[in-house]
């Protein structure tokens, strides 16, 4: 059974839907944030945002767009998780990396299965405090550099040495730079990886440039570790429905993308929105900002709010409570998943469709 509340008081789902519609209809600038939901949920959310002139953002937009900014301003070689797992003989890790499933798979994978069965060589640049765990069960990980703050200089020096240019003294010795440069050039298929949440765009761009340079003589690619909560699936759905990523507003009557202007936290801090629709179906997560305007929360069961939202509806978890399509980190594709424990909890897409159906039929509102 779904559960629903208005101002912390349990109510029937219909009442919560009606109250949510009332809030959204009265809003001058609705914001759809969080957006942790499957493709159907994202599609419904974008359609709603378009109808009410709202803004669409995702809880992981910051790090996702940091990576995308490099892609849309320079050149990037990219590979897939399965291809990296299958063929990489060299892994170049940059910066601290959380020990997520995909990363574990890459590190612990004995080798590229089609790379002759030899152990995959792992080089780790500036693992920071993760140095202790950098080994990840392997005792042959070659660590170069230490603190994360040294990463940009290390990458720049490495790239310069690779190109045969002289470099000034850095925290890393010239000798180890040259050794690393030789090792990378000797790979047959190398893959550079980093957690997009942890390193800055200039370091990402330098890494991508380094990988491009390595392709002058060998094969090298990248595999950024991307955020969860179907952030990539949401990015793609935004892409095909609007032509643009998230952090897009429809208030002008057309899709307008601006990563600064439509940042949820900034909109709330600047008092520029008067109604928030917060979506977190994968985790029972409440928004982290204090003192938000009236909020309609669609979350997995158990989200703890400091102040009860105006409307709260417990929704099903994609691929657990209901069948779903979402981004699969292990394949790098959108994939369909059946419900592992089917329940009658309402899906985000259905909740939003019902809210949209309860809105007064004034078409797209225009200021």
């Amino acid at each position: 059974m779904e559960r629903a509340w208005i101002a912390g008081e349990p109510v029937a789902l219909d009442a919560a839907i009606g109250e949510a519609a009332k809030l959204i209809a009265a809003s001058m600038q609705p914001l759809i944030a969080g957006l942790g939901t499957d493709v159907a949920g994202v599609r419904a959310a974008i359609s709603l945002a378009q109808r009410v002139g709202g803004v669409i953002d995702h809880m992981h937009a910051e790090s996702l767009l940091r990576n995308l900014d490099v892609v849309r301003s320079s050149g990037v070689m990219l590979t897939t998780p399965t291809e990296a797992e299958m063929r990489a003989d060299t892994l170049l890790v940059a910066g601290p990396v959380p020990q997520t499933g995909l990363f574990q798979q890459l590190v612990s994978g004995s080798s590229g299965r089609s790379a002759g069965g030899k152990a995959r060589r792992i080089f780790w640049l500036c693992p920071g405090r993760d140095a202790a765990t950098a080994a990840a069960g392997r005792n042959d990980v070659k660590v170069v550099g230490g603190a994360l703050r040294d990463l940009p200089a290390l990458l720049a020096a490495l790239r310069a040495r690779l190109a045969g240019r002289a470099v000034a003294k850095t925290a890393t010795s010239i000798r180890s730079l040259e050794q690393l440069s030789r090792d990378l050039k000797a790979s047959r298929f190398g893959v550079a990886t980093w957690a997009v949440a942890h390193i800055d765009p200039l370091a990402i761009e330098m890494l991508c440039g380094l990988v491009d340079d390595l392709n002058a003589t060998t094969r090298f690619s990248t595999l950024p570790l991307l955020p969860a909560d179907n952030a990539v699936g949401a990015l793609h759905a935004c892409g095909w429905m609007t032509g643009l990523p998230m952090r897009t507003g429809f208030g002008r009557g057309h899709a307008h993308h601006d990563p600064w202007l439509f940042d949820s936290r900034r909109l709330i801090g600047g008092d520029e929105t008067d109604c928030v629709i917060w979506i977190s179906a994968y985790h029972a997560e409440a928004p982290s900002w204090p003192g938000a305007p009236p909020t309609v929360a669609l979350t997995a069961d158990g989200a703890a709010f400091r102040v009860p939202p105006r409307v709260h509806i417990t929704v099903g978890v994609p691929a657990i409570d209901h069948a779903a399509i979402h981004y699969l980190p292990s394949t790098g594709t959108l994939a369909a998943a059946a419900a592992s424990q089917p329940s009658t909890r309402i899906a985000v897409a259905d909740a939003i469709s019902r809210i949209a159906a309860a809105l007064p039929d004034d078409g797209a509102r225009r200021c």
Partner: protein, 545 residues
């Protein structure tokens, strides 16, 4: 609901009709003129041209490559023009919503997305399900995939290859098979940087020619109506006409479709070592067996983006991107490359490319075997079609364009000397009757009784670009969807797909293969009906028995 379209010039070459008259529609189909019955609705088509809805056989409108291009080029949207106002997200730029509406506005009612990696089939179909009005179909890309190359290396039977191809068609819900630079992506994985028809893929020991021939035979034996769709090796390189000629020869009498041949019609003559070889190639097409067809991939000037599964070619072209950004995907089988490009009028090479495309159109005699494409968005966006129709239909208009282009470029082509002008019936063959036949769509591309009531009505205007840019009326499944170039109703089309017979033992083999190779269930890559959220997402096209 009985609808009469009255008094237009009906051009329906598939049924030998070119005369003033009526077209009748009932319940989504074309019907013969009924006796003594009053229509529920009548539309006046006096002074107008009535054609079947157009079919685009090769346009990259959906999937990971296209969507990545969108995300790579946010600045392309800002320059976008106003959208049809009644659609959702109608000002959104280059979205699926806009693509469907813009195609419909030009009188196109069926579009084939020609390059879907089977692993990304669900993604492509999700986008297609969000593309309004038009029907669509996908070609699944094979030829650099380990399973097929493994079958060939292992000298497996033709039946084993057919079963695999049939399995891929069904799991990816495709209408046919495309091969992209056969073996080229697999060779690039082993650090080869060039790959031709008789080069051999390392490790597998199979030549590009063997891959093309094996897939061609399998598609043919399975009775899939659309012949193997081939993107040849050496795209874009000077002198690559030899590759195209050799590929035509390699067809060995079996049906074969060669995609965007403009990009393969280059000689290496002249001061810059780059010239048109379109006349030579067109002559070879004219002389080839009946089942050999081509589409053009016309270049038009302006900024666009090249989005291709030919990862080797895109990799080699990446540093020539305009603007300077690009993305190359080292994918599981074919991979992809997104490289923005700006075709410039003043650029010698771009001007030659423009002329080469038109030469192919005009020098292939039979409009049934040369298909109208820009390889959208690679040669030009599909929104440039009206201008291309106009160029094909007027020698004077071509002369005006030629006068503005670098004379050195025109001098290495035959275009200035070509007098041919396409007629409306020839346009109808090239964009309606022939594409329907090429894909086995018996109830499309014509206006005979029983056909799907997809009809495009144009004002007969001497300004052909204006005429084709905005149809006067468009009917999709008998419903009016466009009037005077404006969308009046947004419907959701279907994806056309084939499901040839196969030995079901392949299903178990594929399950094992995915589990052994990837440690993943093959189910992850299938396209379930429920995923698309439309009541009837698919329509099956019968295979030859």
């Amino acid at each position: 609901m009985l609808t009469r379209l009255a008094g237009g010039r009906v051009i329906d070459p598939a049924n030998g009709r070119d005369a003033m008259g009526d077209v009748w529609m009932r319940d989504g189909r074309i019907v013969d003129a009924p006796l003594q019955m009053e229509p529920d609705a009548t539309y006046d088509a006096t002074g107008k041209i009535v054609l079947a809805g157009a079919i685009d056989i090769h346009s990259h409108i959906a999937g990971w490559n296209v969507n990545t291009a969108r995300l790579l080029l946010p600045e392309y949207h800002r320059a976008a023009m106003a959208r049809p106002a009644t659609t959702p997200l109608s000002y959104a730029g280059w979205s699926t919503f806009e693509i469907g509406c813009r195609y419909a506005t030009m009188g196109f009612t069926t579009v084939v997305e020609p390059a879907v990696s089977p692993l990304y089939a669900l993604h492509a179909h999700l986008e297609l399900a969000d593309t309004p009005i038009i029907d669509k179909a996908t070609l699944a890309v094979l030829g650099n995939d380990d399973y097929l190359l493994g079958l060939l290396r292992g000298n497996e039977s033709e039946a084993a290859i057919q079963d695999y191809v049939a399995w891929v068609l069904e799991m990816s819900r495709s209408i046919g098979i495309k091969v992209v630079n056969a073996g080229g992506a697999a060779a690039f994985k082993e650090n080869l940087r060039a790959f031709s028809l008789d080069d051999v893929v390392p490790d597998y020991g199979i030549s590009s020619r063997q891959i093309v021939n094996a897939l061609q035979r399998a598609v043919n034996k399975l009775g899939v109506p659309h012949p193997l769709h081939v993107h040849c090796n050496n795209l874009g390189l000077a002198g690559n006409v030899e590759t195209a000629l050799a590929t035509i020869e390699a067809a060995e009498g079996l049906p074969l479709h060669l995609a965007h041949l403009q990009f393969y019609s280059y000689g290496s003559e002249g001061e810059r070592g780059f010239s048109s070889a379109a006349a030579r190639l067109a002559a070879a097409v004219n002389a080839a067996a009946a089942g050999v067809t081509i589409d053009v991939g016309q270049v038009m000037f302006g900024p666009t983006v090249t989005a291709s599964s030919d990862v080797l070619r895109q990799f080699n072209a990446r540093h020539r991107a305009r603007p300077k950004k690009w993305l190359i995907l080292d994918g599981d089988a074919d991979g992809a490359g997104i490289v923005p490009y700006d075709y410039r009028r003043g650029d010698f090479y771009n001007a030659v490319q423009w002329a080469v495309g038109l030469e192919l159109f005009l020098l292939v005699d039979n409009p049934e075997r040369v298909f109208f494409t820009t390889d959208h968005p690679n040669g030009a966006p599909f929104t440039s079609y009206p201008e291309i129709f106009a160029l094909l239909m007027s020698r004077d208009l071509r002369a005006k364009w030629i006068a503005d282009l670098p004379s050195a470029a025109m001098a290495v082509t035959t275009l200035p000397s070509i007098a041919r002008e396409y007629t409306l019936p020839e346009i109808a063959v090239m964009t309606r009757a022939a594409p329907a036949r090429l894909f086995g769509l018996a109830d499309r591309g014509h206006l005979g009784a029983g056909a799907v009531a997809d009809v495009a009505v144009y004002q007969d205007d001497a300004d052909r670009a204006k005429m084709f840019r905005a149809a006067a009326l468009v009917f999709k499944d008998g419903e009016l969807v466009v009037r005077d170039g404006e969308i009046t109703r947004r419907t959701w089309g279907r994806a056309l797909t084939v499901a040839p017979q196969r030995d079901r033992a392949i299903d178990r083999r594929m399950k094992e293969y995915y589990e052994t190779r990837y440690g993943l269930p093959d189910e992850l890559f299938k396209v379930p009906d429920y995923a698309l959220g439309r009541p009837e997402p698919f329509e099956f096209v019968p295979c030859r028995v």
